[in-house]
């Protein structure tokens, strides 16, 4: 996809809010469509503000990376996209998170459906202690009424898309936990894909894996990109540079809240960042 008009956002307290409309207008110019959008999103745990006033587009079938030092709220921001923060008591979100233009935090929205459409892969692979087949089939089975032959197809398709089929096709009845770390993570990806999401969120998916497994997953992401919108949180800058199309740089404010200080095409973030703090971070001047 052509990297046309870069969109640099500085979501600080003084900047004007970025309405979804203007993003769409800009997108029309840039030929990028927005799958999801964050509009002045803040997330609070009780009185503590974890994420402050973030406005960000997530472009369809592109990979968006969120980088920044630890503790700056990257994971919290990611989890706002599939309402996983709801699981933590006393969490409040202000602003809007839009999926195809609709606010996913609106009162009548079915959370269960959101989470199907916006899938998630976690930092540590967490396959169920079930067979490989049952792991992948778990999601589709929730819908019921699927014939065994159809289910077999879904499982095979998902495992193929996750680049795991060849390695496990003869041992689908084995426990998912018996796989290596890298394979488990690909199993988790297959599991997430099986419910045909539109967006896949990845929360530091390679941080528990060795370099070889990490490389495999990064290659996989490039392939997945053609079918799914991907948002990845990573503390590994080189990974973000290798893998993503757009990058959002997050930093912790003095009041410990996280904010997005810069959002741009990845190459620009890593070669000519607009904000000095971004430059310091990506050049490794501070960790």
């Amino acid at each position: 996809m052509a990297q046309s008009v870069p969109i640099a956002l500085r979501a600080s307290v003084t900047a004007p809010p970025l309405p979804v409309v203007s993003t769409t207008a800009l997108n029309a110019v840039s030929e990028l469509s927005t799958k999801m959008a964050l509009d002045r999103v803040s997330v609070c745990y009780g009185a503590f503000v974890a994420v402050a006033d973030v406005s960000l587009p997530v472009y369809t079938r592109h990979i968006t990376a969120i980088i920044g030092p630890s503790g700056c709220g990257k994971s919290t921001l990611l989890r706002a996209l599939n309402r996983m923060n709801d699981l933590i008591p006393h969490t409040r979100l202000t602003g809007h998170v839009l999926l195809d233009g609709e606010d996913i935090y609106a009162p009548q929205v079915d959370v269960v459906e959101i989470r199907r459409r916006v899938g998630m892969v976690f930092q540590r692979p967490n396959p169920f202690p079930k067979t490989i087949y049952d792991n992948v089939a778990y999601g589709p089975r929730l819908y019921g009424g699927i014939r065994k032959s159809e289910l077999d197809q879904i499982v095979e398709r998902s495992l193929r898309r996750a680049a795991l089929w060849d390695e496990v096709k003869d041992k689908l009845k084995q426990s998912g936990m018996a796989l290596s770390g890298g394979q488990q993570q690909r199993l988790c990806i297959a599991r997430a894909i099986a419910v045909e999401p539109e967006v896949i969120l990845m929360d530091e998916p390679c941080s528990a894996l060795d370099p070889v497994a990490t490389l495999k997953i990064e290659e996989l992401m490039q392939v997945l990109k053609s079918d799914y919108t991907i948002v990845i949180v990573t503390h590994n800058m080189q990974q973000a540079a290798r893998v993503s199309d757009h990058t959002a740089m997050m930093m912790m404010r003095p009041d410990r809240a996280g904010e997005v200080i810069e959002f741009d095409v990845t190459t620009k973030i890593f070669t000519r960042p607009g904000d000095k703090r971004t430059e310091d971070y990506v050049t490794g001047r501070f960790g």
């Binding site: 369809t60 195809d100 609709e102 009548q108 079915d110 269960v112 929730l142 819908y143 019921g144 009424g145």
Partner: protein, 295 residues
Amino acid sequence: MSIPSADSSRRLIRSSARERGRRWMNIVMLGLTGLATLLAIVPLAWIIVDVFVRGSSALTVEFLTQTFRPTSIGGGGIWHALVGTAILVGVASLFSVPVGILAAFYVVTHPNTALGLAVRFGTDVLSGLPSIVVGLFIYTVFVVGRGYSALAGSLALAILMLPVVVRTTEEMLKLVPKSLREASLGLGAPEWKTSFSVLLPAALTGVVTGLMLAVARVAGETAPLLFTALGSNNLSTALDKPIAALPLTLFKYAVDPSKTRNAQAWAIAMIIVTLVLLLNISARLVALWRSKMMH
């Protein structure tokens, strides 16, 4: 029906039958679990209310201070049983608390040895033994040849108290920071001194709550006493003779055909239940207070 396809123009609000079915299932099942919890509280409330309502009518001063009188004469009370239970539980504590604390010391200082693990496991298993079996055991060991006695009863109760004391002491000792023990040993204090002068005081609330819970556990025990202390209608403080006990008297009076005795049984139940509830609640409150202090 297959999974909805990845069509981004679909609405977020689902309304298909299957989705509604899943939603309903969710609400119904979760509601049932709440109902189950409520159902569990019902018998508790019911028993407590019954015990207090029915027991209070027979609870007079005379009842508490007089000993047994046959129904033909009338009057009388359960003083002998109160004294009996006090003695049985008191002597049992004298046995179980020291042994329990010492065993807990061992387990805490040798956490990963075979014996340490075996003892922890064994304590759990011991706490699951039926109390009647414990009573039979003491019968074979202590009553055979000697006759029924208060001491035998105390021994049986002590065995029942042991696991509780060991467990609570052990948990408390584990909370004492290692540095405290190391500091004491580092200053040259011998192990036993460290244990008794440093660790034990630090774990004291745990020992106390352990004792309270252990007493609550055995105050109402009847079955083991049937084969050891036997029960009695007379006031006695001798350790080598049978002795009365509240639960034994409760049992006797509850199955007695006389209505007076039945009413008295409820009064005894009220006393025991009050004691047990107070001990349990206090132990909980102490533990809560303790954990608040530590944070």
